[in-house]
Amino acid sequence: MTSSPVQTLTAAARAVAATKIYGSGDTEVRALDAIEVTFEQGRFTAIMGPSGSGKSTLMHCMAGLDTVTSGQVIIGDTDLTTLSEKQLTLLRRDHVGFVFQAYNLVPTLTAIENITLPMDLAGTTGDKAWIDDVVGATGLTDRVKHRPNELSGGQQQRVAVARALAGQPQIIFADEPTGNVDSNTAAEILGFMRNAVAEMGQTIVMVTHDPVAASYADRVVFLVDGKIVDELHEPTPASIRDHMTRLGA
């Protein structure tokens, strides 16, 4: 599968008629309703929407943590719907990065061990120079031998972002990465992610409900009732708030 020549940017990940249905009959819930979306390489995309809009489900399905009921999810050239559980795990390990809201780190491992965890699981050493750059960018070079409980919340999240970056994945998914920290720390983490896209050419998709956080992205996609209803480029907090008000969120 090759990307279409008319596209100026290559797709890092795409959803094609992605549908996710929970339950059946009367209790059926259509969490994703034939979603078509493309996340381009080298861009920072935010997914927003009210509670229950399906934004987390979309991210989980795109990232290979959950499976769609019908349709396709494609990362790079790979159709996730054709993969076995084991292949999905290896794809996550080698081609996807993750940042969760909290508890991102394995408490028994040091910061640097957490950062290199996916590569260590794969049994590879990774690109040493790149990892040094990433660690340098976190500003935690002198604390990498510490364990998570010796780091602040913001430091922990930066380590988590560094882990996502370290393996140079196709795409990084971040689920409310600043949901658990104060606004100064949030700015610090978001700036770090912004730089990763701008300077290191990473692709990041972030789920958030915070307009300020979303404003760090290149593009905001709005989800309501499992459908993409709108999108916004070069957003500001004000323009995002504006859109959300109009969507009734």
């Binding site: 943590l65 795990t89 996550r92 969760f100 408490p107 028994t108 965890l117 260590d120």
Partner: protein, 860 residues
Amino acid sequence: MLKLAWRNVTQRKIRFALTMLPIVLGVMFVVAVFTLTDSLRATFSGLADDISSGIDLTVRATQEFGSDLDRPTVPDSLVPAIEAVDGVREVHPGVAAFNVVIVDGAGAAIVPQGPPALGFNYSDAAFFLVEGRQPGGPGEFAADVDTVSDNDLAIGSVYAINGPETVESFELVGTFNFGSPDEHSSLGQTMAAFDLDTAQRFLGFGDEVIDVGVVVEPDASPATVKSDLEALLDDSYEVITQQAAADEQRADFDDVLSIFGTILSVFAFIALFVSAFIINNVFQITISQRVRELGLWRSIGATPGQLVQSVLVESAAVGAVATVVGAVAGVGLSRVLMVVLRAGGFGLPEGPLSVRPRTLVLAAVVGVGVSVAASLSPALRTRRVAPIAALHPDYLLDRTGMRRRLVGGTATLAVGAVLVALALFNLFGTVVTLVLAGVGALLSFVGINIVSPAFAAVAARVLGRPVAALMRVPGRLARDNAARNPRRTASTAGALMIGLALVALAAVVGASVTRTFVKTLENSVEADYFVSSSAGGFNPNAGFPVQVVDDLAALDEIDSVAGFRFAFGAIQVNGSVKDVFAGDMSILDEHFDTDLRSGAMASGDPATAIALHVDPAEDLGVSVGDTLEVTFPDNETDTLTVAAVFGDARIYGNWVIDTSTWDRHFNRSDFAFASATIAGFSDDLDAASQQRLLDESRIAIDGVLEAYPTVQAENRVEFRQSQQAQLDSLLIVINVFLALSLIIAFAGIAITLALSVFERTREIGLLRAVGMTRRQLRRSVRWEAAIVATFGAVLGVAVGVVAGVAATVAMPDSFVTDIAVPVGSLAVYVVISALLGLLAAAFPARRAGRMKILEAIAHE
């Protein structure tokens, strides 16, 4: 609070079941042991009545001390006088001997495994003819129905029988039931019966009998006849009633059963003790996991005391349910064991299971008691839960400080060790010794368990190093998780430690005994062949005909043969009872070098000679040439002259008399053991000549032994191997008994790990999300278990080696002098434990592998 406890029980069914499991196993074993021994006791009690029911009164010689085996005999000339007493209807003079072995049609000796092979005179008071007729002449015998049918013996055929002195051939003329007319209760023994004259001659009684049974006339009073008999006889004889005879028989059975029951109970209580460790651990973990919930209870008004109560009620419920399940399973197990024992050729009569209320009360006390006692320390910890815990997601219960832990644990360990030491030096009676050893061991284990968290983390890291190096991330996580919670790791390992400490203790004592034996054989034994009965060396009743020794001694290839006998508690010197060893003193020094300090075994007249170890010699202040008054079980006292004082008690024990002295005072004439030296053999000969002598003598000996299928002759190498094999099988039996404790310990590892995995749900979700495969995750959980198991095993082996060395030092020198630590087998135990740890983790590993990633990440 009852409600809280009840909810905790009902809503956490799997955890509840897991917590119960160790107690169920422990209670099951206790109930099975008691039910089995009670049932056997009831069965044997009935049997004792049956056996003695045909005889109203028994006349026999009185005995001051010694075993019933060595009771003085009654001259048969006394029988007519007894028969002439008014009211006596029948007299039944009786003789009996061990090691009367029938050789079947194919030439194989019929040797029961464990129970004895007996010979009697046929008495219609105890034997009930089934087929054929009673033995009535010098060449006839009858046998019990089981022996006849199990070995395809045929009435009318002639069989060789090994007696205490010779081997002779007899025609089988009849079969009989023993004990009752309708049912044969052999108890697994083989029984050959002859007429009285033949039995007296063949079994070596001459004109003597062991006792005379009396049946009184129906209209006579046994009490009157008893006093008439007592009036007739002097006070070297006694008359006992049927009731007393049955009671003695019952007491004999009881002695065996008590030993059996005590040994099994000890293992049952070890299993329960191990269970307590696991219960304690499970409650510690679940309370840590429930801290927020407990905080909520505190914040809405529950007092600390109520929280403690709720935990105790929950543990009592666990104990109660486990007791019920365990008791039912235990009764089932004892039924199965009875069936196995019956099928195993022990010839037990049918009888109901005897489930006594005492057994059930005991089961409830230990089941609920162990559970509540084990949960006491975690329950008390709930008092430290502050209401704020409800609001604080990462609230941790403060832990006992390491300093307090070290001080408290070391103190407990020290008290335990002192108690064990007191027990080892055997200063008190048996019961006190057992209690001291038990309580001491218990305290020692608890002490070690209190201290061990102090080094558990370091130990887990060191033991986990190769795992981490070999298996990268899964290995590293396994190591770090094992080191993560030292208290938990220490208590999980603690359960295994107990089992392995006991295994290692037995291994060290066993290896020390073996080394002592080998050194004795190399340094102190001059003999080249060792003759014994195939019925087994540890059985004091295993003997062979005297004639074997004469036949071997007649061989040209053999220089001399010494036959030995021994008896426990069979002589009295200076008022105290001693074990005695008897052999041909004129040749003993050619066979064994027992470090003679003065004199020689062969000096003086053997018939009045005695030799003794230097310790009793010093205690009594006697030396060579002095005399000693020695009393025998036949109530006779001899004045014996000290011929030698020796320094090595490993072969003979402390007291040695000559064969002729034995023959004067004991009925038993078969040899327990014999040794032989090869003619012309010497260490100075070259290897080829030695081999030639060995080969020639072997052929000659085998030629003689063809006539004695129960007798085997082993050269030094074979003898060493067979002794080693016996010891090994004893160790295996001990390990089998400990298997239950080990199973519980490994179940504990599985349970603890399942709880840990549950606790780490979110972390597992994260690992899976960032690309850990299920296989890697499972491997990580399994190797964590292996590290914990290895820690427990290493700790257990270390404790066991210390205890084993201490026990060896405390044991008498006649038994063990050299200390050996079997490093190889101990290492194997550790490796096996690690592998079993891997296996035990299969269940938690599967659970971890099956967790749904998204749910795991979202887990509170």
